[in-house]
Each structure stands twice: as C-alpha cells, then as structure tokens.
C-alpha cells in the first residue's frame, strides 16, 4: 500500500449499517407486504477533503445511499455521523441548521433547476433560507459564486432554459456552494452531459475541492471518470457495498468478482486493447431488490460462485489494510488463502470464519 494510513486522517462522514427500505403496499388495506431493500446495511467513512467514489449499476442503491446520507430520506436503520453528530436522529429544526454544511449536486440539471426562477434567484435561494443578509450582500455572494463556477455575471437574470447542459450543471454547483458547505454529495453530476462537457465539469469540481477544501461523495456509473476523480471507491451491488478500497488498489487489484466483471465491461477507446481484452461477460440481470437471493446477493450471476455463497451472506473483511471486500472467496479459508489483515475499524465488519465446509 502506497497510500498514507487512513487512520491518520479525520473522518468527516461515518455511516454505519445504513438501511433504506421502501415499503411495498398491497391488498385492499394497503398493508405492507414487502420492502424494496434499496440500501441494505452499508457502512463507510469519508475522510475530510477526500472524494469517495460510489459506483454500481442502475438500481444498486447508490443514489438512494447518497440521498439517505444527507437525510433526504428517513433512513430505515443505521447511523450517519457527519462531523461527529448523528444526523439520522436529529429533530427537523436542528437538522435544518446543519443543512448548510452538507449539500447536493443533482444528476439532471434540467429537472433540478426551477424554470421560473432566474439564475440569481436559484443560486441565492439557499442564502434567503439560511442567512439574513441584505440584498446587496446576497448579490455580491451570488456574483462571487458565479465567478467561482465560471458563469458570466451578465447572465444572472436569465432563466435556466437559456443555458446549455454544462452551464446548467454549473448553476447547480454554484447553488450547492452558496452556504460554504464542507460535504457535497454529487449524484451522477456528469451523466446527462456530453463527453466534451463532462471533463469541464469534473475539472471544475476538482478545482473547487482544492479551493474550498470540500469533501465529496461522488456517485457515478462512469468507472473511468471515478478512477480519475476519486481517492477511494465503494462498489455497490443490490443495496450492499461489495468492495471498498483506495482507487489504485481497486482498479488494479479488484478482489470481488463483481468488481472484476464491472471493470472488464468498460469499453476503452483503444482498438488494439479492446480486442485483446478477455472480457468477463456476466450472465443475466440484477435480481430485484424486493426479493434478493439467499446468501450472497451476487450469487445468481457470479462466475466464481461456490455452494456457500448460496447459503450464507459473506461478511465484509479487511483483506489488506484499507481494502474491504464482502466475498466468500476472500473470507472463506478453504477456497482462498486468507490474507488476514487487522481487525476492521467497523465493529460490524468483524471477520467471521465460515463454519460451512
């Protein structure tokens, strides 16, 4: 491991066993007949000033996780400590006071900007809500923010429709920055943008991070962009984090078969490399989160599936310091040599020896 030990750094966000289940109602009485386990017990930390990438396919729960972390949903279970305070249990009024420190940039810049508000109105709205500044001071701040994200001040009184996708995303970013947040959840901020515009927005996010010391949770399905922007990456599959590791470690030495398959599925803009590649093509589709399979969630598609995988859910183990993985191949000593490692910092991440032969 070349990275500095993670324990030296301050944790800004600590999520423990977060669950977000959406009820399925049925029958005449609309009683709960089941639950969509969108996020089913995830734990992770985000260190101050770093970018945690969260990757996975649609429906894996990565966006739900991002929203639950900011308590835009009421989590079903688990704790979310941001800057030492458990926001999962805070009363609404206290939580509101905490909101300025944690913000969000949404995927669709078209849908997340009110078409009837001017750019100045949109960027200034958080200021209206959380400060009692006068007009002049607010306007000065709005201009400052527009400069920071590379929007021309002259356009402050225009409406969102007059802007291109990339510029709209800049408006969304300026709004998120308005109250000097420390932590920003970026939920697929570049997914709706053209390739040539994506790089502009990602560079902007990185510059702002350096300038204001921001901490990001960067949710994306674009694995190559996450490799570029993230310091550590969590891979989600069907509501669970299957692997979490520093970025170079994850991309060069993935341990979970799903991560391997996901990485090998990314097409690369290099014909000679593309055609030589031994691609792992997964069979079938992701099971429904309302009815996940018994045992490991990935057992229905895993190319390396074993009997134990269909029986028992794998525990998350720290295979190498800082590299967490939930897979029987790693945690089950009969099939794979256990690499050991220190006991996980997460109390529920204790290694359990499988008793199934």
């Amino acid at each position: 491991m070349t990275e500095t030990p993670m324990t030296d750094r301050r944790k800004l966000v600590e999520v423990r066993d977060l669950k977000m289940h959406f009820p399925i109602l049925g029958g005449i009485l609309r009683r709960q007949v089941g639950a969509v386990k969108a996020v089913d017990g995830i734990s992770f930390d985000i260190f101050e000033g770093e970018t945690l990438g969260v990757v996975g396919e649609s429906g894996c729960g990565k966006s739900t996780a991002g929203r639950a972390v900011l308590r835009l949903y009421e989590a079903t279970a688990g704790s979310i400590r941001i800057d030492g305070e458990d926001i999962a249990t805070l009363p609404a009024e206290v939580l509101r006071k905490k909101r300025p420190a944690m913000q969000m940039v949404f995927q669709d810049p078209q849908a997340s900007l009110n078409p009837r508000m001017t750019v100045a109105g949109i960027i200034g709205e958080p200021l209206d809500e959380h400060t009692n500044w006068d007009r002049k001071k607010k306007l000065a701040r709005i201009y400052e923010l527009m400069d920071a994200v590379g929007l021309n001040r002259d356009f402050a009184n225009r409406y969102p429709h007059a802007f291109s996708g990339g510029q709209r995303q800049r408006i969304g970013i300026a709004r998120a920055l308005a109250l000097n947040p420390r932590f920003i959840v970026c939920d697929e901020p570049i997914a709706a943008l053209d390739v040539s515009i994506q790089a502009q927005v990602v560079n902007l996010l990185e510059e702002l991070q350096d300038q204001f010391g921001l901490t990001y949770m960067f949710i994306s399905h674009d694995l190559s962009m996450v490799r570029h922007i993230a310091d550590r990456v969590a891979v989600m599959y069907l509501g669970k984090i299957v692997e979490l590791a520093p970025v170079s470690r994850l991309y060069d030495h993935p341990l979970h078969p799903y991560t391997e398959a996901l990485l090998s599925a990314v097409p690369e803009p290099d014909p000679s490399l593309e055609r030589r590649k031994d691609r792992i093509v997964l069979k079938g589709d992701v099971p429904s989160p309302a009815n996940p399979p018994k045992g490991c969630n990935f057992c229905t598609r895993c190319p390396k599936v074993m009997d134990i995988c269909r029986e028992q859910e794998p525990e998350t183990v720290e295979a190498v310091p800082g590299h967490f993985v939930a897979c029987h191949l790693i945690s089950h000593p009969q099939t794979a040599g256990r690499t050991g490692g220190t006991e996980a910092e997460h109390n529920q991440m204790k290694t359990q020896q499988g008793e199934v032969a």
């Binding site: 560079n203 490799r227 170079s248 599925a265 290099d270 589709d285």
Partner: protein
C-alpha cells in the same frame, strides 16, 4: 475512398434542414459515406452533431415539416431511396433496413405483446402465415439469446428487463433479414455489464448473419471494440473518417484528438487534470461557411473562418475535414489545400 466490394448503402451529399422560428437549422450538411457488405461502421458524435438525424433522413423518418431533406442521394439496392414513393419506402424500412433505437422502452409498444410486435413485420413484409410467423419469432428470440422464447412471446415489454428489451428490439430489426442494420445508441440506456452482453451478441450475430451495420454512439470505447470503420461527426458534418485502428492511432482532426484526450483512462497513471475542449457545441442556425469546430479549436486560423473545410484524403483510407495538418502541426499550405 478506395473500396473492395460494391457498397450496400451509398450516401452522397445528404443535406437536411429544419425550419425553426429562429431560422433554418442545418442539422446535416453534405454528409457522404458508404457501407460495405458485412462491415460495421461506427458513427461517433455528441448530441446535436447530426448523427441520428442523418440516419433518420435516409429512411424518411423525420417529420416534414419541420424537417426537409434538401439534397443528396441514398443508393440502396440499385435505387435512390430518397426519390421513391412512401409505399415503397415503407417496404425498405424493416425489410431492407432494420432500425434499433436508443430507448427500448419507448420504442416498443407497451400494449402489444412482444410476440405480436415480432410477427408484425414478418406478416406484413414477408407475407407469412400466423403460424409461420410465430415459429420464426421464436427462432429470432432464441437468436438474440432470450431464454424460454416460446413462452415469452406472450409477454408484454414491461415484463422484460432493459437489456432483454434491447434484445427484443434487435430481434425485430433482424426479423426480415435486412441487408443493413442501423443501431442508434442501442446501449446508451443500458448498464455497462448489460452493454457488454449486447456487444457480445452483436459480434456473434455479425458472424452468423453477415449483415452490414451502422452503429451510432457517443462512446469511443464502444466503437473501438466493435467497429471496422469510424466516422466522427461534428456540427452536422463528417469531421473525420477511416478504419478504426487508423483513426484511433492517428487521429487527424483536432476534435477527434481532443475527444480522445478528454476521456479518462482505465489503465496507467491518472492524469492530474483532464484535458478539456473549451466552449460549447455550435449553433447550426447559420449556414456553415466556417468550420463548425473553429470556436473550440486550438489550431484555428483565419482560413477556418472563411472556408468550411472539405474532406481530404490523408492515406490509409483515412480522410479528414480540416485546414490544419496534424502531421506537421501547421496550417496546410496553399498547394496542399488545392490538391
């Protein structure tokens, strides 16, 4: 362009214009390309580059007005399909040219079963009986890898997952054994692991059926994996075109070069900062007398503003529409330009 076999599809100087309140939009501006039997031509470009409109213009799929195919020829099976009547064109669509659209949910009809939608072209175009069509439909679903095909004929589109729906779309497009398959961003709405499945399927189908394919995408990685030739579009024009290895190894147009550089890599060292293409894609309301990429181009010079560059051959079946010479990293000399 040197070529071996006679092309199955030959498009010359296609121009499509949209009438809008703020003037005419030149969405497709003198696009020419051909497609040879059995090959896969990749078409890359950003939204608004004209890649989809080009393909829809070929088959008369654009509503007119506002769209107008102003000029050009599209030779398919020995005739110009821009000049044939609506009835005959309907026989071309589905029968000679199959089309797969981006979003499989909106392009399948939700109130008909998949079986019905698969049998429709078979009965209309090939005059099959109900029973014949059903048997062929089962074969087609099996061909695209849908398990338990006979039973699934009775299912509605919502009962299929995204990847499976796209397989159904491909099966419908293949139903009448078309000579040409046009796939418009067929994997953009899909996850990477499902996209990998569809790409494998297409490789397999090409070997089995040998039809020619036009594959539209904005993802250079997809093109690198499956295409024989690639055509890069920008601002309604062809910026660069050539064999896929040649174009990726020696990109000649500043746009292609920049595009390849902006994409973060999956291997090797991470770049400290991504290269960006500054600015925005062009508005196509003015008739392009200048190079459409000029405003964003690092190498632009005065001539780029005066004259829209024509495509010029640069060897190895590779051509580029640019006044700048990537081999010398300098503007073309007058002699070269007139050659």
């Amino acid at each position: 362009m040197p070529d071996g076999a006679t092309p199955v599809l030959d498009v010359k100087n296609l121009k499509t214009v949209f009438a809008t309140r703020s003037g005419e939009v030149h969405a497709v501006n003198s696009v020419s390309f051909d497609l040879r039997p059995g090959e896969l031509l990749g078409v890359v470009g950003e939204s608004g580059s004209g890649k989809s409109v080009t393909m829809m213009s070929l088959l008369g799929l654009l509503p007119s007005p506002p769209a107008e195919v102003r000029s050009g020829t599209v030779m398919l099976g020995g005739r110009d399909i821009l000049k044939i009547g609506a009835e005959e064109l309907r026989n071309v669509r589905g029968r000679e040219v199959g089309f797969v659209f981006q979003d499989p949910m909106t392009s399948l009809n939700p109130v008909f079963t998949v079986g019905f939608q698969l049998c429709e072209p078979l009965r209309k175009h090939l005059g099959m009986s109900k029973a014949q069509a059903r048997n062929r439909a089962v074969e087609l679903l099996e061909l695209v890898g849908i398990p338990d095909a006979r039973r699934r004929l009775g299912d509605y589109p919502h009962q299929f997952s995204g990847g499976m729906r796209q397989r159904v779309m491909i099966a419908i497009a293949l139903a009448c054994d078309p000579k040409v398959l046009i796939a418009d961003e067929p994997t953009t709405a899909l996850d990477v692991t499902i996209q990998a499945q569809i790409l494998e399927l297409v490789k397999e189908l090409r070997q089995k059926l040998g039809m020619a394919i036009i594959w539209i995408t904005h993802d250079l990685g997809v093109i690198a994996g499956i295409a024989d030739r690639v055509m890069v579009m920008y601002g309604g024009q062809v910026a660069e075109h050539g064999p896929v290895r040649e174009v990726f190894a020696n990109p000649a147009h500043p746009y292609t070069r920049a595009l390849l550089q902006t994409m973060p890599k999956m291997h090797g060292a991470r770049d400290a900062k991504l290269r960006v293409i500054e600015g925005q894609p062009p508005m196509l309301t003015r008739h392009p007398t200048a190079c459409p990429f000029m405003a964003r181009c690092a190498h632009a010079f005065d001539r780029c503003g005066r004259e829209n560059p024509a495509r010029r051959d640069i060897g190895h079946a590779h051509d580029v529409a640019c006044h700048w010479d990537h081999t010398t990293a300098a503007p073309l000399t007058a002699a070269e330009a007139s050659a």
